[in-house]
Amino acid sequence: MNHESKDIVISIKGLTKSFGSLSVLQGVDIEIVKGENIAILGRSGSGKSVLIKIISGLLKPDSGIVKVLGQEVDKISAKELQELRLKIGFSFQNSALYDSMTVRENLAFPLVRNKRDLDKKAVNDAIEEVLNEVGLLKTINQMPSELSGGQRKRIGIARTLILKPEIMLYDEPTAGLDPITCIEINNLITKVQKQYNTSSIIITHDLTCAKNTANKVAILMDGKFLSTGSFEEVFNSQNVNVKTFYDYNFINNK
């Protein structure tokens, strides 16, 4: 793929990662350009979540080059990584809301720690703005335990949006949700991409989610990308493993 004329926000070359004797990623190459939403599909344990954890600097690669916004995440200093992370939003599979804090405190937490010059009114305005974006302003004083699964996902996304990231990483955004809530989350991902002009990586098993949110799809299997392209291109791939993955998903979605 040639993206020379476009802004590449994430560039990964020859990425490998093992846990003990288990080799999870075996030479992953991918490039993501500004404003692009890419869905990464793959079976459980294929290394999808490991990939975005490496991108966000939570895990270190064994070898390969991982560049995010032009910086190699495993080579930069802790301070530089902290500054880079302000530009990366990470939506966790189980939302990872701080369960001892209210929704307001959850959203205020990253903001007050990274923008210490903001006054109380500015913080409150920012919180209300992102809660409005995700349609959950009424939950502002609730505890995470009082929210439904879909609401928790949306608050998790709101918490990342409050820092106005350039890149969004979604780990299984629709896992464990009912079909209607899945559609709401898919719409929210698309809305975020348009409104904030973010580039996104969406880790998912859900073909509907991939089709509705991403303009590019990649299938990760046995530690490597099997197929990359538009949803239709990958869907029509003659690769046996890719076809098996699609067939399996359709059987389970019936």
Binding site: S21, K53, S56, G57, L58, Q82, E83, R85, L86, I88, F90, F92, Q93, N94, A96, L97, Y98, D99, S100, F109, P110, R113, N114, R116, R159, T160, L163
Partner: protein, 269 residues
């Protein structure tokens, strides 16, 4: 070639410097020292989490008061009651306040308070951080450009190190109060006479050594709880294990430290 973690292509067995368990033991000690080193580095570098330190001091100190008050008071009464028959045999029951004050200030207050705090505060820290770890809340803090070590670990270790000495002094006072009530009931000793008798045998070294012990124990409780919780693994089972290990390790280390500090203080005395 590193001998300890290299996988032999032929046998597929790991090689270790001594044995798997001994290597793991020394490896974990090394990791604890790195953890403590990181604590000192982060504790003295800005930005400082003052509000969270105060919040944790409230959790560790104020919320432990009812339990510490009860145990301190009962310890004072029971120790006085149990010591009376032996002293009475020699006609020395008037020495009771002195004996009780030495026992409480030098040994019982630091030890009892720290063991209770290890159970209450240590398990609380281990379970809380363990739960945050396995539900990815610590990762969420990290990716939102917040230093979770500084916010979660440094604040809790500072809180236990500051609060345990205060709780120890408080337990000492409550224990002495319990002892006074018992002595007053049985020997009709006045409060002034009790205090004069009790503190006639207590030196600054006794009080200072107790405070020093309490600082060491508080630091130990904080480090044990935070270390076990921060590196918890394997879901809810890991949380339980972290809480349990935090208490067991802290209690074990408190006894080891007690033994070392007593030798050291006796050498000075």
């Amino acid at each position: 070639m590193k001998p300890n973690a290299e996988i032999s292509s032929n046998s597929q067995k790991k090689r270790f410097l001594i044995s798997k368990n001994i290597d793991a033991f020394f490896g974990s000690i090394y990791e604890v020292f790195l953890f403590i080193g990181l604590f000192f580095k982060e504790a003295f570098s800005p930005p400082f989490e003052w509000r969270e330190i105060i919040n944790q001091c409230y959790n560790v100190g104020y919320k432990s008061l009812p339990l510490v008050s009860l145990t301190g008071f009962i310890t004072g009464i029971v120790f006085t009651k149990q010591s009376r028959p032996s002293l009475s045999t020699f006609g020395a029951s008037s020495w009771l306040p002195s004996l009780v004050s030495i026992a409480i200030i030098r040994a019982l207050a630091p030890l009892v308070t720290s063991l209770i705090a290890a159970g209450k505060v240590g398990s609380n820290i281990g379970a809380e951080l363990g739960s945050m770890k396995v539900t990815e809340q610590i990762d969420a803090m990290e990716v939102s450009a917040t230093n979770p070590f500084k916010f979660l670990v440094v604040t809790r270790i500072i809180a236990t190190t500051l609060m345990i000495p205060i709780l120890v002094l408080y337990t000492g006072l409550v224990g002495m109060l319990g002892s006074f009530i018992n002595v007053h009931q049985n020997e009709q000793t006045s409060f002034a006479a009790f205090i004069k008798n009790a503190f006639s045998t207590i030196s600054f070294l006794d009080i200072n050594s107790s405070i020093f012990k309490a600082i060491c124990y508080g630091f130990t409780i904080g480090v044990a709880g935070c270390y076990q919780g921060y590196f918890a693994q394997n879901g809810t089972q890991g949380v339980g294990k972290a809480a349990n290990s935090a208490v067991v390790v802290a209690m074990f280390l408190i006894f080891v430290e007690e033994m070392i500090i007593v030798q050291f203080v006796n050498a000075i005395r």
